[in-house]
Every structure is written in C-alpha cells, then in structure tokens.
C-alpha cells in the first residue's frame, strides 16, 4: 500500500467493531448512503451486475465525449 492509500487518522476507528454501534450505524457514521444498499438488495445479483456494467458504459461514453470536447 502506498502513501496515497493511507487513511486519515480520524477514519482509522471505523475498522473497529467494538464501538457500541451496529454495522448499519457505523456505515452511516462513515458517510455511506444506506438507501443505495437497500435499493441494491431489492435486485438480484444478476441485475446488480447489469447496473454496474451499464454504469461503466456510461462512464466510458462520458469520457469519450469529454475528450472530443477538449481542444
């Protein structure tokens, strides 16, 4: 792991599980949007993969468009 992949000290505590929080409370305190997870859990794994693939396609399309737009 290089230096760019080190965590700020204030975030290191989130590795711990003895903080009295539930897993969902800990994730929310870290800043994770749990509604996204709840949405995903309504999908099948196959549908989740389709969404991921569609997002990658979109990101590539946007990247290409940005490259064409740049002088």
């Amino acid at each position: 792991m290089d230096a760019s992949e080190s965590l700020p000290p204030e975030l290191e505590k989130f590795w711990r599980t003895d903080d009295g929080l539930t897993a969902s409370e800990r994730a929310a305190a870290y800043g994770i949007d749990l509604s996204l997870i709840d949405d995903n859990l309504r999908l099948t794994p196959s549908e989740r993969m389709d969404r991921n693939d569609a997002a990658i396609d979109l990101a590539h399309s946007l990247e290409e468009a940005m490259n064409h737009a740049r002088p």
């Binding site: 992949e5 994730a27 997870i37 859990l41 993969m49 990658i56």
Partner: protein
C-alpha cells in the same frame, strides 16, 4: 455492449475453475460500490489456464500491467507457473489471482464460496463473510468502505 457479467459467463461456459472475489463480488452481494474490473480466484495450473485462454482467445486478452500490453498466449497458459494474471479484454478487465489475501488459494476460496445464478449461468462467489475477511486483510481505505457496506448488508440480511 458485452460487459463484466458476460465475461464471467464466458469463463463458466469454458469450464474455467474460478471463484468470484474482489469488488465485483462485493457489488454482487449488494454493495453500491461500482467497479471496472473482475477479480477471480483461479486454479493456476496449466489445464485451467488453457481453458481460460480458450475462453478468452477471441476477446483479444493482453497483459494489462505490461507497458506494451503484450498478448496472453496459449504458450503462456500451457507453461503454467503464473501466480496472477492481470488481463484486459474486449469485454473488460479480468484479474485471475492464485491467492486471495486473508482466505488463501483457489481450494480455500472454493470452500468459502456459494453458488450465484446469473440468468442460468451458475458461478461461485466468495460468501459475504469471506469477502469481509478478505477486505479486512487487504486493509486499504477502499477496502474499509467495502467492509462497512458488507457488514451493514450482513446485518440487514440477518434482520
């Protein structure tokens, strides 16, 4: 356009022995984290690598980490002796790993995996518990995010 899910089904059709791990496995369990590559724990013996090569041959696999992006060849597969393969294909990036940190090699990964049905294509994926252990063992900031999501998912599934 074909994507990473199709890549996994291609491996399955080619009878490649693998277990889905990494970020794509995390996402398959319900995480909202997106990923651009697929990590699989793979048997790295010549027989399995040859099946891997034949499954990917038409997708123009190249070694992603080499500056010249050299092709992955039948000869390399037959020779064996590879620990990991980081490939780029026409359908996306695929990392075949001989070992998953925190879990072990292919056999240990298979023992900690479960079936995953992808529209009739049944593959193996590391269990939620195994993925949490693997991500904790990796210990990078992005792994922490994945761990927190996976632990929240586990809690929600247990009700």
């Amino acid at each position: 356009m074909q994507g990473l899910k199709d890549l996994l089904c291609r491996l399955h059709s080619g009878k490649v022995e693998f277990v889905l791990a990494g970020g794509f496995g995390v996402m398959a369990h319900g995480s909202a984290l997106m990923t651009q590559d697929v990590d699989v724990a793979c048997r790295m013996d010549p027989d399995n690598l040859l099946r891997l090569f034949e499954a990917l041959e038409s997708l123009r696999p190249v070694h992603r980490m080499t500056p010249q992006r050299l092709p992955f060849t039948r000869g390399q597969a037959e020779q064996g002796g590879l620990k990991n393969l980081c490939l780029s294909t026409d359908w996306g990036q695929l990392d075949c790993l001989g070992e998953i940190k925190g879990i072990g090699g292919y056999a240990e990964c298979f023992a900690r995996s479960e079936a995953l049905d992808l529209d009739g294509c049944e593959i193996r994926v590391l269990t939620l518990d195994a993925l949490i252990e693997a991500k904790r063992a990796m210990g990078r900031p992005r792994d922490l995010h994945a761990v927190l999501e996976l632990e929240a998912i586990r809690e929600r599934l247990r009700g």
